[in-house]
Amino acid sequence: MILIHCPYCDEQRPEIEFAYAGQAHIARPANPDSYSDEEWERFLFFRANPRGRHHERWRHTHGCGRFFNAVRDTVTDKFETTYKAGEPRK
């Protein structure tokens, strides 16, 4: 069972306290109407599936309840880092 560092609680906690929440740094456009059908399709449905570093979101569901970002290696399953929502991509 992986240990995940919550950047808000600043603690390493077991993964059962957390919920995965998809790829990170996909901001909802401020004006969706300005998106073409193709652009909106990409926003809705296209996600990265890298072999290696993956930027993703987690939520400390059974803890502080905050969503945060993480970099995880999809090969080793090791977390490189976690950081608060709103901070720049790492």
């Binding site: 069972m1 909802r28 109407d33």
Partner: protein
């Protein structure tokens, strides 16, 4: 007792005889014996039949690597465990064991015919032979093969035992309490570290238990460790899996070794998080591959030493050794000194150290260097072996009743591999050893290839005079894989060891190839003319040894498998005969049958009561979210399809929630209590999902909004009072709220008191009747319910359950998200255009409502369905077609999502998702069923009171 028990020695307690049974026959052993050692002491050599060929098999090993001697243990009704290794089963009074995979008996086994036909069972036999026709496979081949092949029987009764579990944390976890593990524990014990030392045997010591010279050291060490404050020693505990971040799963066997073992938990699952892990798992001796190497009496040399030194048992009266490694020589020297006759040492190497030869000479043991065993005689026990010089000369027969194999050693890297540590090949050992760690973990002692067993050579198959294709030289004893099978796989084109493994099944039995993987690799390496590291290594996966489902499930079974949520009113429902159903995790009253009523009659009566008098319904399970803050209205405006900003305090609104893809995900009636405070409701099953979704948008998309979300689902008991008499019943009980239609119209909310208790009183209806939903603090739910029941007697008050609720809402065409929608339904598809704020610039899912496939023609839409025969109730889930005469498979244009008998209307009603449904009102569709085709007309979904006259009273 039989003459196989040595007159002295061993760690068994000769003052404590133990009586046990094997295959119905009674035997005696001693406390401290295993089932294997006690049976060997009684002269038993035949322990089981092999998997595929039903060949007679004895004991190969003395530890958990044992592939042959699998037994079933019977501990009374329901307490049956198959496939236990006899070498791991501790003996106790009354132990009842039986052999497996034989019929009618172990000595006379019908399936042994397979052995005679063995030439017809090569690798891939099943794949090749039973391919066609498919129906034969299901009806004939598979049942026959399953009956003949297989290990043990699956238990047929529920397991009455209990299992427990715990978490543990430590600075240092040591797996294996042999000499290396004990030394490490002793060293750590003085440092203040929290240490856990795990060993799977009944006592610590590992290999030292088979070496009497180490016993004084062992005793001193255990005394010191037992006295150490921060050292926890867990024996009878198997570390079965090594997971991320130094998380180790282990099972402690608590009662199986006790004569009275049905009280208390049987096993305990340990979930251990360790700062550092030291693996001291030791090494496993490798069998040698030659014709007849599976005959009972052929076993690992180290096992014979363990049986003699630890259990005081001779595995034969006259032993021969077939060695390619020095360790076997030392073993037979020890056995000879223990008083057991040694018939010969045969070593395939051309020469060995002079010291070994000198000691053999001194002990009077005849030695045959550069020789190999080429055959074994005896069916249920070895009676002689045939040997021959490796150049083909000097063939001779040596009488003996056991043959020991010393094929070298394989470090136990199982847990290391679970942790994803890398391995490196060592030519000198002919084995893989740990290389780079992936966790904070080290391997020490024999599992790291660090041992004092001496040196040896590596052989794939021993030299033989016989035709390689006709010999039965076993590699994987448990799965009956021979050297020939592996060579065949290579000839047929398999190159990767992962493919060879799956084709031959080498290493795929319950022992995961503990004794067979390396021999398999060597044989494949020779056949492919490639070095072992170039053909890869199969992957070890948890569990290290088989574990019970009981231990893994622990307490999570029966009533504790999943929490059942109950409302404050649940007890009343139970006392009044409710029939319950589970909705998400909630237990809800489905209907309240009166004596003599079936569900149909009860639901009809409940529906009549709501339409004609007043019904009472426990709606406490509705999800509730309190949305508070200066930006609360703005936030809801962005989340829901409807406009919220202009909603006045005191008013309610039906809210429709989409996902960003435009599909309906939840709905519910919500109220504005104050400019900065909303009381949201969600579906019963959707509460947690909706709150998570709202938190996601609030935290990550719109962190600038000043809003707080709080789950209040369990803070309120909610009683729905529905029916024409609802107001009359309620009025006298309420203080501070004017219930008149003018002051308190449909879709409004008021705060006040009911029976002196604070309430949020909603005037809402999911039935189409005059209705109220009374929210009170949860603890008052049942008291209020009972008061309403008492006061409502004059009005014909009737409790109704979820089934009547479903019928009543369907009569009104109210959808249930998740029943009438399935994640592909838009507001337009559902006929809920009116709930979408056309003037809003944005809300979650709005852009998607203009997606090409959502505005395309021909989408499935929710419509009402009225069968031509009013008494015919459609089946929910039934498929709908436009033309029932088309050939099968027909083109399906939709399906029935809800269907009921409507007592109010005196006929059946249904809702369905039908392609282009809104455009085909009045047309006939068809529902083909096994008994015939049902005709129905597409209609509006609102079957009852379409003007809503009954609501606005």
């Amino acid at each position: 007792m039989s003459g196989y028990r040595l007159p002295a020695g061993g760690r068994v307690d000769r003052s404590k005889p133990v009586t046990f049974r094997f295959d119905g026959k009674t035997y005696q052993g001693f406390a401290g014996d295993t089932l294997a050692s006690a049976l060997l002491a009684n002269g038993v050599t035949l322990f089981g039949r092999s998997f595929k060929y039903h060949r007679p098999r004895g004991v190969l090993a003395a530890g958990n690597e044992e592939p042959n001697a699998l037994v079933s243990i019977h501990r009374g009704p329901g307490r049956f465990t198959p496939n236990l290794r006899a070498t791991n089963v501790e003996l106790h009074d009354g132990l009842n064991a039986s052999s497996q995979n034989r019929w009618p008996s172990l000595k006379t086994d019908f399936g042994a015919i397979n052995d005679r036909l063995g030439m017809f069972f090569p690798a891939g036999f099943y794949n090749k032979t039973f391919m066609w026709p498919r129906s034969f496979w299901e009806r004939l081949y598979e049942p026959a093969i399953r009956k003949m092949a297989g290990l043990g029987d699956a238990p047929t009764e529920n397991d009455p035992d209990t299992y427990t579990a715990t978490y543990a944390h430590c600075d240092l976890l040591i797996v294996g309490a042999g000499p290396a593990g004990l030394d490490a524990a002793l060293e750590a014990s003085g440092t203040g570290k929290r240490v856990i030392l795990i060993d799977e045997q009944d006592e610590a010591g590992g290999g030292a238990l088979a070496d009497p010279a180490l016993w004084p050291w062992l005793e001193r060490s255990m005394k010191a460790l037992n006295a150490a404050a921060k050292v926890t020693i867990l024996t009878r505990t198997t570390a079965f899996g090594y997971y991320h971040d130094n998380f180790i799963g282990a099972v402690e066997r608590l009662t199986d070794h006790l004569p009275e073992n049905s009280d208390g938990p049987r096993e305990k699952l340990w979930r251990i998080r360790a700062g550092e892990v030291l693996l001291a798992q030791g090494a496993i001796e490798r069998p040698l591959v030659f014709d007849g190497n599976d005959t009972p009496g052929v076993m690992l040399s180290s096992a014979a030493k363990t049986f003699a030194n630890r259990y005081g048992v001779a595995v034969g009266k006259s032993l021969a050794l077939m060695a390619v490694h020095d360790s076997g020589w030392h073993d037979v020297f020890a056995l000879k000194k223990a008083g057991i006759a040694i018939a010969a040492i045969i070593d395939a190497r051309t020469d060995v150290d002079g010291d070994l030869k000198a000691e053999a000479a001194a002990l009077g043991i005849s030695v045959h260097l550069d020789h190999s065993v080429i055959g074994v005689s005896g069916r249920h026990q070895v009676n002689s072996i045939e040997i021959c010089a490796n150049n083909g000369n000097a063939r001779r027969t040596i009488p003996c009743d056991a043959l020991l194999m010393a094929g070298g050693w394989t470090p136990s890297v199982h847990l290391w591999s679970h942790s994803k540590g890398s391995l490196k090949w060592r030519d000198d050992l002919g084995a893989y050893v740990p290389d780079q760690a992936n966790e904070n973990c080290r391997s020490i002692g024999a599992c790291a290839g660090d041992w004092d067993f001496g040196k040896g050579a590596v052989f794939d198959v021993l030299p033989t005079l016989r035709d390689q294709a006709r010999i039965k030289a076993f590699v994987d004893f448990q799965n009956d894989v021979t050297a020939k099978d592996i060579n065949l796989a290579v000839r047929e084109g398999f190159r990767s060891i992962e493919h060879i493994k799956r084709y031959t099944t080498n290493g795929m039995a319950t022992d995961q190839g503990k004794t067979s993987n390396l021999n398999g690799l060597q044989i494949a390496s020779t056949a492919l003319a490639k070095a072992v590291p170039d053909i890869g290594l199969t992957t070890f996966r948890p569990p290290y040894t088989p574990q019970t489902f009981g231990a893994l499930a622990g307490h999570a079974k029966g009533a504790l498998f999943q929490a059942t949520r109950t409302t404050n009113i649940d007890g009343w429902a139970e006392e009044n005969g409710a029939v319950f159903e589970l909705v998400a995790q909630w237990r809800r009253a489905r209907y309240f049958p009166q004596p003599g009523e079936d569900m149909h009659a009860a639901v009809n009566r409940e529906c009549r009561a709501v339409r004609g008098g007043v019904g009472i319904f426990d709606a406490s399970t509705l999800g509730k979210i309190e949305v508070v803050g200066p930006d609360a209205a703005e936030f809801l405006n962005r989340m829901y399809t409807n406009p919220w900003k202009a909603l006045e305090p005191g008013r309610c609104r039906y809210g429709l929630l989409l996902k960003e893809d435009g599909f309906i995900t939840d709905d519910g009636v919500s109220a504005r209590l104050a400019p900065d405070r909303f009381h949201l409701t969600t579906t019963t099953g959707g509460a947690a999902r909706v709150l998570n979704m709202m938190e996601d948008y609030l935290q990550t998309e719109w962190p600038d909004l000043n809003v707080w979300l709080t789950s209040t689902t369990e803070q309120y008991a909610v009683i729905a009072l529905q029916g024409p008499n609802a107001r009359k019943l309620l009025e006298p009980l309420v203080q501070g709220i004017d219930l008149s239609p003018e002051a308190f119209p449909h879709m409004t909310v008021r705060e006040g008191l009911i029976c002196g208790v604070p309430t949020r009183l909603f005037r809402v209806s999911f039935t189409g009747e005059l209705g109220f939903e009374i929210n009170v603090p949860t603890a008052y739910g049942r008291a209020l319910w009972e008061r309403l029941m008492a006061d409502g007697a004059d009005y014909g008050i009737t409790p109704y359950g979820t089934e009547a609720m479903h019928v009543l809402r369907a009569e009104k065409g109210f959808i249930i998200v998740g029943q009438d929608t399935d994640g592909t339904v838009t507001p337009y598809d559902a006929g809920l255009d009116w709930a979408v704020g056309k003037k809003k610039p944005d809300f979650v899912g709005r852009r998607s409502l203009a997606r090409p496939d959502i505005v395309a023609a021909g989408r499935k839409q929710l419509v009402g369905l009225l069968t031509e025969d009013p008494n015919m109730v459609l089946e929910e889930g039934a498929q709908i077609v436009a033309d029932p005469k088309q050939p099968v498979p027909m083109t399906m244009i939709g399906h029935v999502t809800s269907s009921y008998w409507s007592e109010t209307l005196g006929r059946s009603i249904a809702i369905g998702l039908v392609a282009n449904g809104h455009a085909i009102m009045g047309e006939t569709i068809y529902v083909p069923m096994p008994d015939g085709v049902i005709r129905a007309t597409v209609t509006s979904m609102v079957f009852y009171d379409p003007e809503g006259a009954r609501l606005h009273v």
